[in-house]
């Protein structure tokens, strides 16, 4: 059972993750039609509450909600009472009073969405990224994207594969792991689906402890390139102080950047993902970002279907009946 909130991928387990990926596949199907909109959440009100800058995640969630026919309230911090000193709790209580069914929160503080669940009654909370903690919908869309790519390569229907295609796959997550919420959600998703995950970063950008994460840790990216199925490249979170954790950007790129030279050492089938926004020339070379094996735009595209699945499963009680005959 999924819900009532989506705070951490840890709460979903393998089954929950696979269910969301499969529902997302049906929404991806819907998207390929001329009429992209379905009435699944007609009458529901979804609010987005972003306390941090975001382009793709916010747009993606709002597009997803609109395609499900939900009404969308979009609260941006710059125009809100937060600037006047209102607390997160009061902002949430205010939105609650407007009569919403779900709130999608991004906040610079780890745990803010979980705290929101204690302050709100009967409102679904979706974590759209909290501090260094988690970005669950990103973890889901990353898993969705690579499963689809692997399914295509094998000529099978992605939804029929469950977590099968992840078994034995070798995934390297490289870059600023310590300050990355994407890394934590990616690790939880890939681990739950059965892949073998290695975290690769300078020691200062690794989490202090990975006990219980079930991952391997390396500080030598070159050593990992020959035997890998997916390289997940992360941005250096300069705004969160990671700049101080490495001597220079040049040195970071020299050792951990996905350069053209490194990309050429990958097995031909290996894929590259990046959650965006990319800083070309730092963690990923421009040529690599534009390489067909780099799925960055596919990730953005898939984000909508995955977030439709998340909102649908949380808000509709999980019945998929509406999709049958929707096209007729």
């Amino acid at each position: 059972m999924i819900g009532p909130h989506l705070l951490s991928l840890e709460d979903l387990g393998t089954e929950g993750i696979v269910e969301i990926l499969n529902v997302a596949e049906s929404f991806a199907e819907v998207e390929r039609r001329t009429m992209k909109k379905v009435p699944a959440l007609k009458g529901k009100v979804v609010a987005t509450l972003f306390f941090e800058e975001s382009t793709r995640t916010r747009l993606s969630f709002e597009t997803a909600a609109k395609r499900l026919s939900a009404d969308v309230l979009s609260l941006s911090v710059a125009s809100s009472s937060v600037k006047k000193g209102e607390s997160l709790k009061d902002t949430l209580k205010t939105i609650e009073a407007l009569g919403i069914d779900a709130v999608i929160i991004r906040h610079r503080s780890s745990g803010a969405p979980l705290q929101a669940t204690r302050w709100l009654d009967d409102i679904h909370v979706v974590n759209a990224g909290d501090g260094w903690h988690e970005h669950p919908s990103q973890g889901l869309l990353d898993a969705f994207t690579v499963r689809q790519a692997w399914a295509q390569a094998e000529g099978v229907d992605a939804a029929s594969t469950g977590s099968e295609l992840f078994q034995g796959k070798r995934i390297v997550i490289v870059g600023d792991i310590a300050h990355s919420r994407v890394a934590r959600s990616d690790v939880l998703a890939y681990q739950a689906l059965g892949a073998h995950v290695t975290l690769c970063a300078p020691a200062t950008l690794l989490p202090p402890s990975v006990k219980g994460w079930g991952v391997e840790v390396s500080t030598d990216l070159d050593d990992l390139l020959a035997d890998v199925d997916l390289v997940s490249v992360l941005r250096l979170q300069a705004e969160r102080g990671s700049g101080e954790c490495v001597p220079s950007l040049r040195e970071f790129t020299n050792s951990f950047g996905m350069t053209t030279a490194r990309t050429s050492k990958l097995p031909p089938h290996a894929l590259i993902t990046h959650p965006g926004p990319m800083v070309r020339g730092i963690e990923i070379a421009s040529e690599v970002a534009d390489d067909p094996r780099c799925l960055v735009t596919t990730q953005v595209h898939n984000g909508v279907a995955v977030r439709m699945a998340v909102l649908f499963l949380l808000l509709s009680g999980g019945s998929m009946a509406f999709t049958d005959g929707e096209g007729s």
């Binding site: 607390s87 780890s110 745990g111 803010a112 705290q115 204690r118 903690h133 202090p208 006990k211």
Partner: protein
């Protein structure tokens, strides 16, 4: 400056309790006349006396807290001297040392006098710790000689440690000359790097910035070296790591003049609590994995750590209902300190009741120079020690078998930030007697 304290007039008789006397626990009645213990023995009687039946209870010296944030002046919405000392009395305390990180900081004679003045009529005796540096800025020394003439014997920049080793060394040296104690909140801010929880498993999993144990230990080590070199008395506040305990143990063996305290939350809670992202569990030093708490307990049992101190730190609901990293650190402690310590040290580790009173009363009284042997520079009555004839009646009566359930809203503090909400604890404070006045009777404050 001496505070002219008043002894309560009248006669009080405690009957049938186990009295912690100078020759160990004895079953006896205790007679208190006009604020002084005048007789201890079986079958005492006194006409016109208020009689408190304390059968099954332990009668001992009132507790002394070396580390109380009374918040006045500056944050009177969270606590005042009046409400904080009421909480102290309910927790069995007859004296508290008020920490100087108020607004304004307790770094001038004027402010210290004001706090002592308000404390003179409070429900527990109020001693004051002065700031080491002006405004706790870590740079210029506060007028410690002037403050010491008012009776201040403990100096600390608590809330933060003195970051600059040169300033710390000079302050220790100056304190030695004055015969007062330099007390440190050990946290190297460079190493702590803005961490809001203990660095390790939980900080990594939850994506919260962590501060490593070494942030505390590095300053413990620095200060021990400085104190040893200068021959100054150093007191270490709220030790919370295995490494800190080990450093102090070795320093004491080497003859360094150091005392140390630990807070109940560091040996009754672990950093697993933060998984709820509830800022009620945010405290500085942070909650840590269990082995650190076990080391603190070992330190309390073998004398490495001299005292249990609460680090009672009230915060208003609106400041604790913030995202974890934005909320201020600190938790209430005065009313839960005894029960928590009793459960862990006496019931859990087999410490004697007298041993627990040493940690809660006698040793902290000595460190704050509030004991009978010291000249008690604030002019206050004697604290700690044992229940003996001729002593001022600063007494607590404990029912070690009774239980109670913690409710933040029922605590006397203005703030409600207890991390033990809903927890059932054993050991109840029945009565607290301050200079002969019953300030807590049957668990209720009398004023």
């Amino acid at each position: 400056m001496t505070t002219d304290y008043k002894l309560a007039q009248g006669t009080l008789l405690l009957t049938g309790g186990t009295v912690l006397g100078s020759d160990g626990p004895v079953l006896a009645d205790v007679l208190i006349e006009d604020g002084i213990i005048t007789a201890i023995g079986q079958g005492l009687s006194a006409p016109d006396a208020e009689v408190l039946d304390v059968e099954g209870c332990t009668v001992g010296p009132g507790f002394v807290d070396l580390h109380t944030h009374l918040r006045e002046p500056g944050k009177e919405q969270a606590e005042t001297i009046e409400t904080g000392t009421r909480a102290a009395a309910l927790g069995g305390y007859t004296a508290v040392v008020a920490m100087p990180n108020t607004d304004p900081v307790l770094d001038s004679a004027f402010v210290v006098r004001a706090v002592l003045g308000l404390g003179a009529t409070a429900m527990a005796e109020v001693a004051v710790a002065g700031a080491i540096t002006v405004g706790r800025n870590g740079q210029e020394l506060a007028p410690m000689a002037e403050l010491s003439r008012l009776g201040v014997v403990l100096f600390t920049d608590d809330g933060s440690g003195v970051q600059n080793g040169g300033v710390a060394r000079r302050a220790l040296e100056y304190c030695r000359g004055l015969g007062v104690t330099y007390a440190e909140h050990c946290e190297d801010l460079g190493i702590a790097a803005g961490g809001v929880v203990h660095e390790g498993y939980w900080s990594s999993k939850l994506g919260l910035p962590g501060q490593p144990a070494s942030a505390e230990e590095a300053m413990v080590a620095r200060d021990l070296l400085l104190a040893g070199e200068l021959g100054a008395h150093l007191h270490l506040l709220h030790l919370s790591t295995e490494g800190s305990v080990d450093l102090v143990r070795r320093a004491k063996a080497a003859g360094i003049n150091v005392t140390a305290e630990a807070a109940p939350h560091h040996f009754t809670l672990t950093d697993e609590s933060i998984a709820s992202f509830d800022a009620v569990y945010k405290v500085n030093p942070p909650l840590r994995p269990a082995h650190h708490g076990d080391a603190v307990v070992a330190g309390l049992l073998d004398g490495t750590i001299d005292a249990i101190a609460t680090d009672h730190a009230p915060h208003t609901p609106e400041t604790k209902d913030l995202p974890f990293d934005e909320a201020p650190p600190g938790m209430l402690g005065l009313e839960t300190s005894f029960s928590l310590s009793y459960a862990r040290l006496v019931l859990g580790e087999g410490l004697s009741m007298e041993g627990l009173f040493d940690l809660l009363s006698t040793n902290p009284a000595r460190i704050a120079k509030l004991d009978a042997a010291s000249d008690r520079p604030f002019g206050q009555s004697e604290q700690g020690g044992r229940i003996t004839v001729g002593r001022t009646a600063n007494v607590v009566v404990i029912d070690p078998r009774a239980t109670w359930t913690v409710e933040g809203s029922s605590l006397a503090s203005l703030a409600q930030n207890t991390p033990y909400e809903g927890r059932k604890l054993q050991g109840v404070i029945r009565h607290t007697i301050l200079r002969g006045e019953v300030v807590v009777r049957n668990g209720e404050p009398t004023r």
